[in-house]
């Protein structure tokens, strides 16, 4: 029994106890057990991470027991601990522990708290199995396990049709990714004869340039395998094309959004690409695809984020966009930078979500930012926490002095894109800078709409409810307000409607403060180990394909490149300031002038509508066609029904045949036996 056993299996145990104990156990015990397990996990994870940080710590694998053994397919349950895992361990356990704590306050009024905490712990277990996987199949176990937990938590409020639809959508879209992941595993096993990750990575370079038959084509082996696996990563990390589930996943309770749909699960794809980076390094084509999809997603999601009105959806698109950054960092070979952005992003994005949750809590479940305003004075602690998160995500900092978390990680990605000799590098650089401008714009837009200006609460039905009655709607609305679907901003009533927002309880504020600390300091404290050429090579110690040349080159980019991200950030801030503080009629005038563009962005480039027409409707239509025209209209008509009709024309005879089948059958059997007996006797 080592620390890693406890870290991984305590959450499982806690989930089982809390889940099955459920009502017998009571809310308090369930919360205590699950949260306790996670805090123990966190306390055990940081020393592991710090040991790797200090250097000299060897990677190790702790076997648990055999899983699947079939010929060469030897899969064991085992826990791999190396620098990459250590990074993920602290991210997962820390964010999870504080999200558990946060949920004490946030879910206090909910009826099924043990179930909620059991799901959260189950999720954490699956995520830990994913990051400690030593083989592809265990990674897939964790991969699907987090998918299950995500499904259960998105649909946690299962009375709401929208939550159920979002849950199924998340599971199914992820399964589309897993289709690629599965084929990738099958192909990897076929090519390498093993699914052990270290063995595959070792054998990969020798396979570079080989070719393989796939669906009648002859393709480059490593490119095929990497792209198939990357499709899995695209699904889990909500990359362009398979991203549609993430915004809808906001139907889940806000702590879930923070833990699963911002800090941990959605970064699993980035983790996978980094874990398999020596494999991806053998195929330039695959890396170009990774970089391209990443850059496209960063841009796409940022544009959509600028137009959303639901506070959680803005942050969701922001997450999608930041994941795009991580992917193109990986695509240009800067895996260290990708992992560093994953690390810092976990803190500041979880913080932003939890902060948004605190705002929603204060605003009585209203999520539409058009009904916020002027909240700075009413919930000051939440405001300052959100401020730290915003400074971190927009990358505020001074070169060589100090910066918030995102300053180090995002700038590193932008510089790496510029310095890289990847064919995608140049494009990725410009996309990244432009997306940074948009990031700054939508982040500050969120801040200004929520915390500045005068209150616009009176228009909100939630606030009216709260002001006039004590009938608490127990569940979040998640933008189901019909007004959400109006194209174009509407005039909202100003005023407070007599409502007084209240600051959240301590269990909510403590996680905010701790994560704010992470958002402020994570970049400054750890950028050396993750990014600097010598220090980084020492820290990563081969657990990712760390490119020291690229890291050197990154520091030698021209000054204008280094300043471009900051310039973009300032430009975005200025635009947001002008549009939402100084000249408040700008947004309305913009939407009037560019009606088409605005509708396009507000409706998220019409991906959902497109997929609905392309996949959902045809599936049902074809299913019905196969059933009615295929099974009933053809197979049955010319099969059993036809036989009955031919053998016995006339309904009486048919019925008699139908009821006399048993005798016919017995007769045939007897005839057969008679024949067999004849054979047996006549030697």
């Amino acid at each position: 029994m080592t620390a890693i056993h406890l870290i991984v299996f305590l959450p499982l145990l806690a989930a089982i106890v809390a889940g099955f104990g459920n009502r017998m156990l009571g809310n308090f015990a369930a919360k205590l057990i699950t949260t306790g397990a996670l805090f123990i996990g966190m306390a055990l994870s940081w020393p592991i991470f710090l040991a790797f940080l200090a250097g000299g710590q060897e990677a190790y694998v702790v076997p648990v027991f055999d899983w699947i053994r079939s010929g060469d397919m030897q899969v064991a349950w085992s826990l791999r601990v190396d620098a990459l895992t250590a990074v993920m361990l602290v991210v997962v356990t820390t964010v999870s522990a504080f999200v558990h704590l946060y949920s004490w306050g946030y879910m206090a009024e909910d009826d099924s708290q043990p179930r909620f905490f059991a799901y959260l712990s189950l999720f954490t277990f699956a995520m830990l199995m994913l990051v400690t996987a030593d083989n592809l199949v265990q990674m897939f176990f964790g991969w699907e396990g987090v998918g299950l937990a995500s499904y259960l938590l998105i649909g946690f409020w299962y009375h709401k049709p929208s939550a159920n639809a979002a849950a199924i959508k998340a599971f199914v879209v992820n399964r589309v990714g897993d289709f690629g992941f599965s084929l990738g595993i099958f192909g990897t096993f076929l090519v390498f004869g093993t699914i052990s990750i270290p063995a595959i990575l070792e054998a990969s370079p020798a396979m570079a340039g080989s070719s393989i038959g796939f669906l009648g084509m002859r393709v480059d082996t490593m490119t095929l395998l990497c792209i198939l696996l990357f499709i899995g990563a695209m699904g889990k990390s909500a990359q362009l094309g398979l991203h549609t589930w993430l915004p809808d996943a906001m139907e889940g309770p806000t702590p879930v959004s923070a833990l699963i749909h911002a800090a941990t699960m959605v970064t699993a794809g980035v983790f996978m690409v980094c874990r398999l980076s020596p494999m991806f390094e053998t195929s330039e084509a695959a890396l170009v695809v990774v970089a391209f999809i990443g850059a496209a997603t960063a841009l796409f999601a940022a544009t959509v984020g600028t137009c959303q009105n639901d506070i959680k959806r803005v942050i969701a698109y922001s997450t999608c966009s930041q994941l795009g950054y991580m992917f193109f960092a990986a695509g240009v070979g800067a895996y260290g930078a990708a992992m560093f952005h994953l690390f810092t992003h976990a803190f500041f994005k979880a913080l932003l979500f939890l902060g948004a949750g605190s705002v929603i809590h204060a605003m009585h479940h209203e999520q539409d930012m058009r009904f916020y305003g002027g909240l700075r004075k009413h919930i000051p602690l939440t405001f300052w926490a959100m401020m730290a998160g915003t400074l971190a995500i927009t990358g505020v900092g001074l070169i060589g002095v100090f910066g918030f978390a995102g300053f180090y990680s995002k700038d590193a990605i932008i510089e790496a894109a510029f310095a890289s000799d990847s064919p995608m590098g140049g494009i990725a650089f410009f996309v990244a800078v432009f997306a940074a401008l948009l990031t700054s714009f939508y982040s500050w837009r969120l801040m200004f709409l929520t915390f500045w200006g005068s209150p616009r609460w009176a228009g909100s039905t939630h606030i009216q409810h709260a002001a006039h009655s004590h009938d608490h709607p127990a569940e979040e609305d998640a933008g189901q307000d019909p007004s959400m679907h109006d194209a174009g901003p509407k005039e909202v009533a100003h005023g407070t409607a007599g409502y007084h927002p209240h600051e959240s309880p301590l269990s909510i504020l403590v996680p905010l403060v701790v994560l704010a600390g992470g958002a402020i300091l994570a970049g400054f404290l750890f950028h050396g180990a993750f990014l600097e050429a010598e220090e980084g090579a020492h820290f990563w110690a081969g657990s990712i394909a760390f490119d020291t040349h690229l890291m050197h080159a990154m520091h030698e980019v021209p000054l204008w490149v280094k300043l471009s991200a900051t310039a973009a950030m300032l430009l975005g801030l200025a635009t947001a300031f002008l549009a939402y503080i100084r000249y408040k009629d700008w947004p309305a005038r913009f939407t009037q002038t560019f009606r088409g563009l605005y509708a396009f962005l507000l409706n998220k480039w019409y991906f959902d509508e497109l997929f609905h027409i392309l996949f959902v409707l045809p599936s049902f239509a074809i299913g019905r066609l196969f059933w009615k025209r295929g099974d009933e209209g053809t197979i049955d008509r010319f099969g059993p029904d036809g036989v009955a009709a031919v053998v016995a024309s006339g309904s009486t005879l048919a019925r008699r045949l139908q009821s006399g089948y048993l005798y016919t059958y017995a007769l045939v059997m007897l005839l057969g036996l008679a024949a067999a007996a004849t054979w047996a006797m006549a030697r």
Partner: protein, 517 residues
């Protein structure tokens, strides 16, 4: 004789048969006979299960291929020949495990002609165990064909409104197959001069004859499996059958097709199997996509699960005919897993059918509120059906598809879409049953599952998890037998389409492209 010193296989056949006789012939008032036959049925199935556990415990992994062999001449060349290998052992375990559960599930649901019903089930158990233990061709034929008669009766007597049509359809499909199979068997006995199955498994039939024999057996097994397009009897049979009938149908009877492929088609006709593999692959690929989409649009719970069975069975056929270890072992695990999971899903349907007497999905909704325990178990089996890692469903599907990929990437790619489609129709079903608001008064009035129902579903849930987390218990007994089968079919193994070609150094490739240099 064997390690136990008594003919355990024959006793396993005899115990349910004896139980059936007691149910049928013991006198008494109607009420008393019903009460007694329930307990007799439960006792004899539990006794058989216990014998099965003993069998598994004493089965020597790595020992001789055929164990617990019994041979008694009957007359002429006929022999009472019994014996099992690991493959048969696992399927026998599946049978004896599901049987007591079926009896418990029928405890209250069946009210008419209880002694006859229980006798039919017990008689069927004897015949099913017989199928997996028979070592003589004609003995196998008797068990294989006669095993369906109790099933016809169960559907035809205790079934729903359309029971006559359903059992007629079932009969018509199986009839054609069994006639062809019988003719093939007679020819084989004549050609090889023996009806001993182990001997036949090593006999080399001429390749031209193999094709015809293979097709004749295929006609029978494809219907049992069932493969597309001879699957249309299954939805009707399931819909009309009582709950326990569906469990046995999905749990054991469908496995006879797969068992037939492993025992007959592959080892006896390896060349034909390799040559005709395109039929299997083609039909399986169609089945996965076609039946999954059909399952999606069903309004009847049982029909939905029946269609999903056809899709799952397609994983078995592609795995078996992948000609490699992962494929065949995977196919075996899919068979075991599907037997448990679809059996459990039918039981889940039965639980709410017993309360509301409708299979119409739209009549339910929001059951998580008033039936949380039920919702949890139903979720577990839904996830196992979807193939979530950690449940039995994943292990089998994964291995079968790995095997399929080695054989042909098209097959793997098309069949892997099943993991997407499976998630769609199962989660859509679960949503409509268990999630949403509890706004239908009759559904809201239903009580959560009783202790009896927990005792039927709980053991299956435990085995599903066991097989998902530590499948080695179930793979170890079949490993050597799959090895024997692989050695037998190796010579006919068709090459895969991957044909990996190692990369030439770039310089060499360039000079090849421009020979002028």
């Amino acid at each position: 004789m064997n390690a136990l010193g008594f003919p355990i296989l024959s006793i396993m056949l005899a115990v349910p048969l004896l139980g059936a006789m007691i149910c049928l012939f013991a006198p008494g008032s109607e009420k008393r006979r019903a009460w007694r036959s329930r307990w007799v049925a439960l006792a004899s199935t539990l006794a058989t299960f216990w014998l099965g556990v003993l069998l598994w415990a004493r089965y020597e992994i790595g020992g001789p291929q055929w164990q617990f062999v019994e041979r008694e001449p009957i007359f002429g060349r006929f022999e009472w020949a019994m014996g099992i290998d690991g493959i048969a052992l696992m399927l026998i375990m599946l049978t004896v495990f599901l049987m007591p559960i079926c009896i418990a599930a029928s405890w209250k649901a069946i009210k008419d002609r209880v002694p006859e019903y229980m006798a039919a089930f017990l008689f069927m158990e004897t015949l099913m165990i017989g199928v997996f233990t028979a070592q003589d061709l004609f003995l196998f034929y008797i068990f294989f064909e006669a095993g369906l008669i109790p099933m016809y009766l169960i559907i035809g007597i205790w079934g729903g409104k359309e029971r006559i049509y359903a059992s007629y359809k079932f009969f018509l499909y199986t009839l054609l197959g069994s006639v062809l199979m019988l003719i093939a068997m007679l020819w084989m006995a004549q050609e090889a001069g023996t009806t001993d199955i182990p001997t036949l498994m090593a006999y080399d039939f001429p390749p031209e004859a193999q094709i015809w024999l293979w097709l004749a057996f295929f006609a029978s097994f494809a219907v049992k499996m069932p493969m597309w397009p001879v699957h249309t009897w299954l939805p009707d049979a399931h819909v009309q059958a009582p709950t326990a009938g569906s469990v046995i149908l999905a749990g054991v009877l469908l496995k006879m097709g797969g068992y037939g492929f492993i025992r007959f088609s592959l080892p006896m006709f390896p060349e034909a199997s390799a040559q005709l593999v395109w039929i299997i692959f083609g039909l399986s690929m169609v089945a996965v996509v076609y039946t999954s989409l059909v399952a999606l649009v069903q309004q009847d719970m049982k029909k939905l699960i029946a269609y999903s069975s056809v899709a799952h069975m397609a994983f078995v056929t592609v795995g078996l005919f992948a000609f490699n270890r992962q494929g065949i072992e995977g196919a075996m695990i899919v068979m075991l897993s599907h037997g448990l999971v679809s059996g459990a899903l039918f039981l889940c349907v039965g639980v709410i059918y017993d309360r509301l007497h409708t299979r119409d999905i739209d009549r339910y909704g929001g059951l998580s509120d008033n039936m949380p325990k039920y919702a949890l178990l139903f979720m577990l089996f839904t996830m196992a059906s979807v193939g979530l890692p950690g449940t039995s469903g994943f292990v089998g599907e994964f291995l079968a598809l790995v095997g399929a990929y080695e054989a042909n990437s098209w097959v793997a790619a098309v069949c892997t879409t099943g993991i997407i489609l499976g998630a769609v129709y199962m989660l859509y079903l679960y949503w409509r049953i268990a999630f949403g608001t509890l706004d239908k008064p009759d559904a809201a009035g239903m009580k959560d599952i009783s202790l009896r129902e927990v005792l039927t579903l709980g053991p299956i849930a435990a085995v599903v998890m066991w097989m998902g987390v530590y499948p080695e218990s179930f793979i170890a007994p079949i490993r050597d037998d799959v090895g024997v089968l692989l050695a037998r079919i190796e010579r006919a193994n068709p090459p895969g389409d991957a044909a990996l070609v190692m990369g030439a150094p770039p310089a060499a490739a360039e000079s090849h492209a421009e020979p002028a240099h």
